[in-house]
């Protein structure tokens, strides 16, 4: 069973317009949730994470995400896209399975920002 689903493989926005990258998860328990970003030819970097504190999480570079348990979602948003936001974004859920900590990565969403 898929633990995390990123609903869009590609998203294209114009510079200065809002960004919405969607992520849904499946978990029997309250998971920890993360968004990582991978810029071209660079390593993955943490954007933000939810660990059962505030449901609205603020990250770096103006990104934020809201944990909605009723919708099993953790969508990533930014009010105004910048050219430098063009990258691939991964939603990650962590949970315990068979007594091991497991980290499940979504398939990624490539964000294109048009001038």
């Amino acid at each position: 069973a898929q633990s995390v689903t990123q609903l869009d493989s590609h998203v294209s926005v114009s510079e200065g317009t809002p960004v919405l990258l969607r992520c849904n998860y499946s978990s029997s328990y309250s998971p920890s949730l993360f968004w990582y970003v991978q810029h071209p030819n660079k390593g993955l970097q943490l954007l933000l994470k939810y660990t059962s504190a505030a449901t609205l999480v603020k990250g770096i570079n103006g990104f934020e995400a809201e944990f909605k348990k009723s919708e099993t979602s953790f969508h990533l948003t930014k009010p105004s896209a910048h050219m430098s936001d063009a990258a691939e974004y991964f939603c990650v859920v962590s949970l315990v399975k068979y007594n091991f900590n497991k980290f499940y990565f979504g398939s990624g969403t490539k964000l294109n920002v048009k001038p």
Binding site: Q6, F34, G43, K49, F90, N101, F105
Partner: protein
């Protein structure tokens, strides 16, 4: 401070040869993860080391894949009798204690091409 380093950065090999990929985690991090990122796909978990505990090998795709972590620090991922489908970017990450809420710090990856 120094981040996670991986070597080599690129490796081209012939089908049937063995390869070794190396990961140096951040000093003091007890948890170490290996992932595989194939073209156009998300990250696939391979193996996870946590301190002196038995590693979680559940993600290794076949018995041609193995990994060691010596002295709780450096790790080596070995692929025996490489196949063309092994071509991918192999990513290593480390975290301080391996808890579900922790940030993983990723290395730049080793790009493996099997001809």
């Amino acid at each position: 401070g120094a981040g996670v380093s991986q070597s080599p950065s690129n490796k081209v090999t012939e089908k049937g040869k063995d390869v070794e990929l190396r990961c140096d985690p951040i000093s003091g991090h007890t948890a170490l993860y290996w992932y595989r990122q194939s073209l156009g796909q998300g990250l696939e978990f391979l193996i996870y080391f946590q301190g002196n505990s038995a590693p979680d090998k559940s993600g290794l795709p076949s018995d041609r894949f193995s990994a060691e972590r010596t002295g709780g620090s450096v790790s080596t991922l070995t692929i025996q009798r490489t196949q063309q489908e092994d071509s991918a970017v192999y990513l290593c990450a480390s975290s301080l204690a391996g808890t579900l809420q922790e940030t993983q710090y990723f290395g730049p990856g080793t790009r493996l091409l099997v001809l």
